[in-house]
């Protein structure tokens, strides 16, 4: 009951004119910045931070949070239309949504994304409202060994995401892991594989890399096929914007499953959104009755990760607000913003600043409604982008990507990264190697290594630690099951061959 009273209070504050205005500004800025290739949530929030110095603390937080989850909406737009994921979490969206676009179904893809994001966001907020203390405890309970188990499980799962053989997926994960090791080693503080370039001591810029791997590679391959425009103008009639009844049926369950996965995984500091989308997608592919649809524009493969993405973005606020520990760079900037306003994030935040907490949470839901209202009418406009002749569209995208990537760090090296990975992505794509697996490898490599080494450091080098801890043991068992299940045909063939051999011998 208490929570409901608090929530009512929160809505009262979040519905003030000022809060509504800045919430709207936040989600609008977020949507457009997210849709622009090359500029992620971090850049958008960092740049807006000084603007909030003069605002009321709650209004400032509402606006910054709005930019954050608004970017997640926006980044799916460029992922769907142009194969340009604005954030790592929307990399997976490309897998199914871009094939939909290529077959003239960009409208339904955007529509489903908007709805799934809204549902996911709403469910994430319910978790945030109801279970912050419980989930904060859950997040604290994860030791390094447990993180290692979880990450390993996700990596093995990701290797099976590809269209073709799991082996190709595994190769890409391995390449990703190697690329992810570029930068400063957390355990020893030593720069590795940096070629003496100071910029590389922080690792390869992920957004720049994704712009190359997905976007530039796609444009290169379009040109190599003659460079005709993606969709004919006739395909952009209004009717084709709305999902069919079958789409809705398929997306419904997937959205709910994705939301739950996202809401739980999002709580883990530092890896939430991206992991959640990969797990949600993998889950859909596993349980689907027609897995052959995947990679050819499966609606479930769009709805589930999008819902997971937005749910996890909301529950990512749990460790930030509930424990005061920022999960990633974006959350660190949010905590800094709170500090500037003299608000201490931490265990007492929800008690001492209940007003503020519930106000911000209420505004998140209002913001999600705004995003829905903002995005549905815009779908027609977004889809029209595709009718721009390719000889105008492609150079414009390349230019936007370069400007976007450059503007984040003011560094030319980032543009070189885009170009290099554009070429890499083109070659890998030609031979059917899944780019998403590579991206996940890059993201998780430093975390995998850090947690592996820390777990072993704490156990004095005893590998049994991974089996002694229930959480980590569970993940390792799941990983083993997953491998057996994925290769069961090959294993069975092997087994029967041996038996056969025995009989003959």
């Amino acid at each position: 009951m208490d929570a409901l009273v608090n929530l009512a209070h929160g809505f009262e504050r979040a519905l003030s004119l000022e809060a509504l205005l800045f919430c709207f500004i936040g989600v609008t800025v977020g949507t457009f910045v997210g849709a622009l290739p090359g500029i992620g949530a971090l850049a958008a929030i960092s740049l807006s931070l000084p603007l909030t110095y003069y605002l009321d603390p709650m209004v400032a937080l509402i606006m910054l949070a709005g930019i954050f989850y608004g970017t997640q909406y926006g980044s799916s737009i460029s992922a769907i239309l142009l194969n340009l994921p604005g954030t790592p979490a929307s990399a997976i969206t490309c897998l199914e949504a871009y094939p939909m676009t290529k077959s003239g179904r960009a409208g339904p893809a955007l529509f489903i994304t908007a709805i799934a994001s809204f549902v996911g966001g709403s469910i994430g907020i319910v978790f945030l409202m109801g279970f912050t203390p419980v989930l904060a405890k859950f997040a604290i309970g994860f030791s390094s060994a447990d993180y290692f188990g979880l990450i390993l499980f996700c990596l093995v799962g990701a290797s099976m995401l590809g269209v073709g053989s799991p082996l190709k997926g595994l190769c890409m994960v391995a390449v990703g892991l190697l690329l992810g090791l570029v930068g400063t080693d957390v355990t020893s503080g030593t720069p590795r594989f940096t070629l003496g370039i100071p910029m590389l001591t922080d690792g390869i810029d992920l957004v720049a890399m994704m712009m190359g791997l997905f976007g530039v590679a796609e444009i290169l391959s379009a040109y190599s096929k003659g460079g005709e425009s993606l969709v004919s103008a006739s395909a952009v009639a209004l009717r084709s914007l709305i999902p069919t009844r079958q789409d809705v049926r398929e997306a419904g369950g997937a959205t709910l499953r994705g939301s739950l996965v996202g809401a739980v995984i999002g709580v883990l500091p530092g890896m939430g959104a991206t992991l959640a989308t990969f797990i949600a997608y993998g889950l859909e592919k596993r349980i689907s009755r027609n897995p052959e649809k995947f990679a050819h524009g499966a609606v479930e493969g769009v709805a589930s990760p999008e819902a997971a993405n937005n749910a996890s973005v909301q529950t990512a606020f749990i460790p930030t607000l509930g424990i005061g520990i920022p999960g990633d760079a974006v959350m660190a900037v949010l905590i800094a913003a709170m500090m500037i306003h003299g608000i201490q994030a931490g265990p007492l935040f929800m008690v001492q600043q209940a007003d503020l907490f519930w106000g911000v949470v209420a505004s998140m839901w209002i913001g999600n409604v705004m995003l829905l209202i903002l995005n549905i009418p815009l779908i027609g406009l977004w889809v029209r982008i595709l009718t721009i002749p390719s000889h105008v569209l492609y150079p414009s995208i390349l230019l936007l990507v370069c400007i976007g990537v450059y503007s984040v760090n003011n560094n030319v090296n980032d543009i070189i990264i885009v170009i290099v990975f554009g070429a890499v992505g083109y070659v890998f794509g030609m031979f059917g190697y899944p780019m998403a697996s590579l991206v996940l490898g890059v993201i998780l490599a430093p975390l995998l290594e850090e947690h592996l080494r820390r777990a072993l450091l704490l156990s004095d080098g005893n590998y049994m630690i991974f089996l002694q801890r229930p959480l980590s043991a569970t993940f390792l068992a799941l990983t083993a099951l997953f491998i057996v299940f994925s290769f069961k045909n090959q294993l069975m063939a092997l087994f029967s061959n041996e038996r056969h051999g025995d009989v003959r011998g």
């Binding site: 960092s46 740049l47 931070l49 000084p50 997040a139 604290i140 309970g141 994860f142 030791s143 390094s144 400063t184 957390v186 355990t187 020893s188 503080g189 030593t190 720069p191 100071p198 910029m199 001591t201 922080d202 500091p269 530092g270 460790p319 424990i323 005061g324 520990i325 920022p326 760079a329 660190a332 900037v333 800094a336 913003a337 500090m339 500037i340 003299g342 201490q344 994030a345 931490g346 265990p347 007492l348 935040f349 760090n409 003011n410 560094n411 850090e450 820390r454 450091l457 704490l458």
Partner: protein
């Protein structure tokens, strides 16, 4: 410079020169002024000054830089602009400061990483490639354990470490960072050995301490404080010479017999060979700035301790820090 031009305008009006000639004269003076630092003396600053911050917007160093820049802008009447050049743990920014023209128009914030990055071979330049101008803040670390731990006092912590050398796990931020160096400094003085567990930043270590996955942490007192108030963590001591005003009950390591001399410090510096007159002007202005209300307010919010040292004092501090770090890192 503005005054100078105005004076000339007044003079020329009397001598009956045309406006065009006045303009040319003024433009000439400006060109000469821009041509060399020698000529700029006596008139610095006459155009916006850039303050390079090697760390991201919103962080402690950035906020300090902005508060200082505001105060200096007011003082000198020209804008002091903070420019964030992030990368390589501050190295990208430091490189830019050190390689700037020594004319006083590009300065920056120096931190302990100037010394550690050089000693670790990540950066070629050392503190000798900078002109130290003034210290703005010095912060120390806090030692904390989980509230459920049987370690009640700082002495307990040392006793436990002494009994089981290398077994007590201490989460302490990144390898070579000031928290790690503080712990090494204590090991040296107390003759104990911890199991150092590196983390990517202090907050990550606090998270693992909350879950009971490590025994103790060396961390930012401001980051520990909310968890002490919430009853989940216990603060044992703060490093440094004296107690913190926010934590009057927590002893300092110095009063317990361990005067640790590692800190998180932030100072203003420029490229080597900055004109003396620029340094003097800045010293005075920064001394005033660190006492200004706006600066103190910012420092309180980020939980940082204002501390002023002049150019000479800062240079001595840098020399001492390099000695300490060289010894610890060996």
């Amino acid at each position: 410079m503005k005054d100078e031009i105005k004076m000339r305008t007044d003079d020329t009006r009397r001598s009956g020169l045309t406006r065009r000639q006045v303009f040319l004269a003024a433009a000439g003076a400006l060109t000469l002024a821009a041509a060399g630092p020698a000529f700029a003396q006596g008139s610095w600053p006459e155009k916006p000054v850039e303050i390079i911050c090697g760390f991201a917007p919103g962080g402690g160093t950035d906020l300090l830089a902005r508060a200082l820049a505001d105060a200096l802008s007011d003082e000198f009447g020209v804008p002091f602009q903070v420019i964030n050049r992030t990368g390589g743990g501050g190295v990208v920014g430091f490189e830019e400061i050190a390689s700037a023209a020594p004319d006083g128009y590009k300065l920056g914030i120096l931190t302990a990483q100037v010394i550690t990055a050089n000693l670790r071979g990540v950066m070629q330049k050392s503190y000798r490639d900078f002109t130290p101008i003034a210290m703005a803040s010095i912060d120390y670390a806090g030692f904390a354990v989980n509230a459920n731990s049987d370690i009640q006092t700082f002495e307990d912590l040392l006793e436990k470490a002494r009994q089981n050398p290398g077994a007590l796990s201490l989460g302490n931020g990144s390898e070579g960072g000031s928290f790690h160096m503080t712990a090494r400094n204590l090991e040296e003085q107390a003759g104990v050995k911890f199991k150092h567990v590196p983390f990517d930043g202090g907050p990550a270590a606090i998270l693992q301490l909350l879950g009971g996955h490590i025994d103790a942490t060396v961390n930012g007192p401001t980051e520990i404080l909310p968890h002490v108030q919430g009853g989940q963590l216990r603060m044992l001591a703060v490093s440094g010479p004296k107690r913190l005003p926010d934590l009057p009950d927590v002893p300092s390591t110095a009063e317990l017999g361990f005067p640790l001399d590692v800190s998180t410090w932030r100072a203003v510096g420029g490229p080597a060979g900055l004109p003396e007159e620029v340094v003097e002007k800045l010293e005075g202005a920064i001394e005033k700035a660190v006492q200004s209300e706006r600066f103190l307010e910012t420092m309180e919010k980020i939980g940082s301790n204002p501390e002023y040292l002049d150019s000479e004092g800062l240079l001595a501090y840098l020399q001492r820090q390099e000695e300490i770090y060289t010894k610890i890192l060996d």
